[in-house]
């Protein structure tokens, strides 16, 4: 979230789209209620299903799953055409006036540079036209035909109401109602917030779904202001922290990059990731990349990281491909992987295409499962009726199941969606011999270190060098590691105040630069519990610590104009008066600078502005474009029949054959979470199991009638990848939508089925899902795939 949960109360319009906050983030939704009650805010819900969020909405519009981009680009077209644009903001703080290279093109669904053979783009042309000094050319008058504003207008021009309605299935009058409410926030005194979650990420164009919305927010001047923002409602309690910790195949903590094969040495690496400014006078904050990286290497390798050995740079593994879990699982499936550690993840239930996951796990030599619960992943080798049809004797995997603590039994910090780092305390010992993950991994690491010492082996250096100098190396305590994350001055041992003190010469150590300031000489900032809110705007500066710098609203420089005057005095975050800045939050800029010199609020970008045109950042184009889901119920793309779905999607060999057609599988299936359950965890919790004891599938009344299915009947749902049986809930909350001349039915499948928990034994929805994912993030398309449904006898 650029903003944070409480800030939602400051909004005038809350749009829940690509998410279902009332069910998946219920307490967060409480702040929507607050805005509705105390700020007379309107709630807009756009979802294929009439959800519990929709039950309280002022405006609800159904759309066909997987057509969000068409919906949102249509909103952009509407806003431009009706001139409901915050022009002051757009002119000052976006790249609308920037001029794009001459060779950039968009024709018939493809941007310039597409290579049919590899299914990838050469993105060279997706860039600004530069002047002699390397700065982007701009035309503040928007006269230039290739300035971003004109390109954008042209790009969205195709998305008129009828076209959008034809693609999304949303009725024009419903669509218009949504457009009007959103448009009402283009003035300085009104603001909208978008709340999204997996409903946008679980698509083959998930990142572009989100970008489309961010573009609307820029048009309306809604980013960096109270009650606005781009608000990702993260899933797990500490998935924000896990991402901050770089626990991804190409990441390092603090959004630094794990080097790849092109980064042949430290010098090249730092050059590749330290951007040069694209406009004069920029803060270009990533210019400090070397300081963040070198300090991190000091926290990785300690005294072994020296200037002479490039601070241990070569010990870091480099990637040649994106080894995300889909790719790695595919390797596993093909017998190219021997071992897998699974920490607090129920892979076999949570990952797409369960049948493939099962086979992949069976190919492993060893599997180590660290989990507080007895998951189906740890027992994948065990026969369980029709839910897991295996023969244990034929599975040669050695499986270790290691009991871990859970939140109540450990101390530490987790980061919520609003970037609050909240420290928590241990309330009791764990059951039996359970241990925290950090202790278990330390136990393995210390044993491994000893083995390399005793036996030698391949490349022992990093294993020897890795800094494990904790007071008790076999159990690094949370407090100690938290201090390491904050960073210190190595010579004096003093904790750093914040990341502005980091150096690139090896004299400072810092595990994660964005966290710097969380544990200073003044102590544990994350443990602060002063809930005082002096401004009444929900900024509680004394409660825990918000990264970065205890800043609660990101890009908050954009809340005031170029001269430092708030766009809306009622929403003042910062203001420049009497020669200095003052306000209610930590400024997201150098507060020593006068307003005109800091008027580039998106200071992490080398041009300092928000981007309608995304340059080379994304795989499938600098503008979003509507592409059909990989499995499309209409089998064509009404905008460009030659380019049906996302052309830049990664298609691993053999996966294409696992995709079904709308002839065989005519219905759109979408999977989701319900209020009563959290993934496959709470199925082990009796109170949750009582409140929702069994999974089911939701279907509309028309389809039910056609298929002779009554409420509560057993049904069989099948996709190209598998089949499952469950019970039907026939409901009016789902409805067929008229799309491109045909009726499209949506089938809603909750994701909480388990066969080894307290709920009734059931299939998991991932028997049906596809692994094909977003072209950038590889997040699988869990939200829009094709199935068939028939009445069944039952289990």
């Amino acid at each position: 979230m650029t903003n944070h949960w409480i800030d939602i109360k400051n909004t005038n319009v809350a749009i829940i789209m690509g998410g279902n906050a009332a069910e998946a983030h219920p307490v967060g939704f409480g702040w929507v209620s607050e805005a509705m009650q105390h700020n007379d805010a309107k709630l807009v819900v756009v979802d294929p299903r009439f959800t519990r969020s929709a039950s309280l909405a002022d405006v609800y519009a159904p759309l066909r799953s997987g057509t969000d981009i068409a919906f949102l680009l249509g909103v952009i077209r509407y806003l431009i055409e009706t001139d409901q644009v915050n022009h002051d903001y757009v002119k000052a703080y976006t790249n609308a006036s920037f001029i794009v290279r001459e060779d950039f093109e968009f024709n018939d669904g493809l941007f310039s540079g597409f290579d049919e053979e590899t299914g990838t783009y050469n993105k060279e042309s997706w860039f600004y036209e530069l002047d002699g000094e390397g700065f982007a050319k701009v035309d503040p008058s928007y006269q230039h035909p290739r300035c971003v504003w004109n390109l954008l207008k042209k790009h969205v021009d195709r998305y008129d109401f009828d076209t959008v309605s034809n693609i999304t299935g949303t009725k024009v009058e419903d669509y218009q109602a949504v457009c009007e409410v959103i448009g009402s926030t283009h003035t300085h005194d009104r603001v909208a917030t978008f709340m999204y979650a997996l409903g946008w990420t679980h698509h083959t164009k998930g990142a572009q779904n989100i970008r489309s919305m961010a573009m609307i927010q820029l048009l309306l001047g809604n980013i960096g202001v109270l009650g606005g923002g781009v608000n990702a409602l993260r899933g797990h309690s500490n998935v924000q922290g896990a991402t901050d910790m770089g626990l991804l195949c190409q990441g390092l903590p603090g959004y630094l990059k794990l080097p790849n094969d092109n980064d042949v040495n430290l010098e090249t690496y730092l050059r590749n990731y330290t951007p040069v400014p694209l406009r004069p006078g920029q803060t270009n904050y990533w210019q400090h990349y070397p300081k963040f990286f070198v300090s991190q290497m000091k926290s990785f390798w300690g005294k072994y990281a020296t200037k002479e050995n490039d601070f241990g740079y070569d010990w870091l593994p480099k990637w040649d491909l994106q080894y995300d879990y889909t790719k790695h699982l595919d390797m596993m499936y093909h017998g190219q992987v021997n071992g897998l550690f699974v920490q607090g993840v129920n892979c076999i239930n949570s990952q797409p295409n369960r049948n493939k996951v099962l086979k992949a796990l069976s190919n492993l030599k060893y599997l180590v499962v660290l989990d507080p619960l007895a998951t189906e992943t740890a027992t994948f080798w065990q026969h369980a009726d029709q839910f897991n049809e295996v023969n244990p004797a034929s599975i040669q995997t050695e499986v270790f199941r290691l009991p871990t603590t859970l939140f109540a039994e450990e101390e530490g910090c987790i980061v919520n969606s609003g970037r609050w780092m909240q420290w928590h305390w241990k309330g009791a010992n764990p059951p039996g011999e359970s241990k925290p993950d950090a202790e278990i991994l330390s136990g393995i690491m210390l044993t491994l270190k000893q083995m390399y010492k005793d036996e030698g082996g391949k490349l022992p250096e990093p294993i020897e060098a890795i800094k494990w100098d904790y007071h008790t190396p076999s159990f690094p305590h949370g407090e100690e590691v938290a201090k390491e994350l904050n960073g210190k001055d190595i010579a004096t041992g003093r904790q750093l105040d914040n990341f502005t003190q980091l150096k690139d010469d090896g004299s400072t150590e810092c595990g994660c630069w964005i966290y710097s300031g969380c544990w200073t000489e003044a102590g544990n900032m994350m443990a602060r519990r002063d809930n005082h809110d002096p401004s009444g705007k929900g900024i509680t500066p004394g409660w825990a610590f918000a990264w970065p710098m205890n800043r609660r609203v990101l890009y908050n420089r954009a809340s005031c104009d170029v001269n430092g005057k708030p766009w809306d005095p009622k929403r003042m975050i910062l203001e420049y008066t009497d020669g200095h800045w003052h306000g209610i939050d930590v400024g997201d800029f150098n507060m020593k600078l006068p307003p005109q010199e800091s008027a580039h609020p998106f200071m992490m970008q080398p041009e300092g502005v928000g981007r309608f045109f995304a340059l080379k950042m994304l795989a499938e184009g600098p503008f979003p474009e509507h592409y059909e889901p990989m499995e499309s119920p209409i089998g064509t793309n009404p905008l460009h029949p030659n380019v049906v779905s996302n052309p830049a999607v990664r298609m691993l060999p053999g996966v294409k054959e696992t995709l079904g057609s709308n002839k065989e599988f005519p219905y759109v299936c979408t999977t989701y979470s319900m209020t009563e359950h959290f993934n496959y965890w709470s199925t082990h919790c009796r109170l949750a199991a009582i409140s929702m004891p069994e999974t089911f599938v939701e279907i509309d009344e028309v389809l039910a009638r056609d298929k002779g299915i009554n409420n509560g009947d057993w049904v069989r749902i099948s996709s190209k990848r598998g089949a499952m049986e469950t019970k039907a809930l026939v409901t009016q909350r789902l409805q067929p939508l008229k799309v491109n001349g045909q009726w499209v039915h949506t089938i809603g499948l909750p994701r909480h089925g388990s066969h080894n928990a307290l709920i009734r034994k059931s299939f998991t929805c991932n028997v049906l899902t596809t692994e094909v994912g977003d072209a950038n993030t590889q997040t699988p398309e869990y939200k829009a795939f094709l199935v068939n449904i028939e009445k069944a006898k039952g289990i």
Partner: protein, 302 residues
């Protein structure tokens, strides 16, 4: 709270000296604003958690509503009602729990002294130590709330978290409510607030918004703001609940007569026990009803 806080008691016509004479105990009320509820069930779960209730794990029965019904192990249940009106979808949720009637039919119907009491703060509470399991309260309740427990054959229902309210806390359901659909406070405050809210709803276009506080039972200790007060049935609520005539007759006329009969029955039972012997199941037989009810869930666990 103490015995002095009890202002009405079943099985007797005499009133306990009212505590408010000394302490000025305010009548408390729970307000359920259905126009703010999104059916998340937090109230339902928090109720079970606080009161140490665990209903059997049931099965899907065609609705989000689980368990299917209130029980001695489920005192608060979120009920779901979906319908279309003027082509607009509605999904309404009812926080279903004891209404704590001012004139409680259950208490009137109960013949056991002190088994059902009304406290000076207005809440109606069951004392399971005294309950004989006759089930009269179950059939008398116009809201169909109390339930007999299949094991101990005593009646149970929401206590308005008497153990919390006695030390000044709100009931567990109210504390956990995320949208502010549940509130708890003095009757005066809640009615004042409800009035404001109903006005606000009318301004927003809900012309029939209103407060459900049925007079037939003297008003309720849980009042509800509804989108359409003329259609309480769309929330699964009775339009005009009242203590039924037979129950009133029972309390005032039949019960005194019946006392003689009961003594006679008891005497026969004792005579039967002494002369014929016991007629009781073997003590080592398992409980008639297994609360855990998870036999087939756990069969394949190590």
């Amino acid at each position: 709270m103490s015995a002095q806080d009890i202002i009405l008691s079943s099985g007797t016509s005499e009133l306990t000296p009212a505590a408010q004479v000394r302490r000025k105990v305010a009548k408390m009320t729970k307000l359920f604003d259905a126009t703010k509820c999104n059916g998340c069930k937090a109230c339902q779960v928090a109720c079970s958690e606080w009161n140490d209730l665990r209903a059997p794990i049931g099965e899907f029965s065609g609705s989000y509503q689980n368990p299917a019904d209130l029980s001695s192990e489920c005192w608060t249940l979120m009920k779901f009602h979906e319908f279309k009106k003027n082509d607009k979808m509605h999904w309404q949720f009812t926080h279903t729990a004891c209404m704590h009637c001012d004139d409680p039919a259950c208490l009137t119907a109960c013949s056991t002294k002190g088994a059902i009491v009304q406290r000076s703060n207005g809440t109606v509470d069951f004392d399971s130590d005294k309950c004989t399991g006759c089930g009269y309260c179950v059939s008398a309740c116009p809201f169909n709330i109390p339930r007999l427990d299949p094991i101990d054959q005593k009646a149970y229902k929401c206590t308005m978290c008497a153990d919390r309210t006695q030390i000044g806390l709100e009931p567990a359901c109210v504390k956990t409510c995320i949208t502010g659909a549940l509130r708890f406070g003095t009757r005066e405050d809640m009615l004042f607030y409800a009035d404001l809210r109903v006005k606000q709803l009318k301004e927003k276009g809900y012309a029939n918004a209103g407060l459900y506080n049925p007079e037939g039972v003297g008003g309720t200790g849980m009042v509800m703001i509804l989108h359409d007060i003329n259609q309480p049935e769309s929330y699964g609520l009775p339009a005009d609940p009242k203590t039924s005539l037979p129950v009133k007759l029972w309390q005032d006329v039949v019960k005194p007569l019946g006392a003689v009969g009961i003594i006679a029955t008891a005497a026969v039972a004792i005579a039967h026990r002494i002369t014929v012997g016991r007629n009781i199941v073997e003590e080592d037989e398992p409980a008639a009803y297994d609360h855990s009810h998870d036999d087939n869930q756990k069969s394949d666990k190590e």
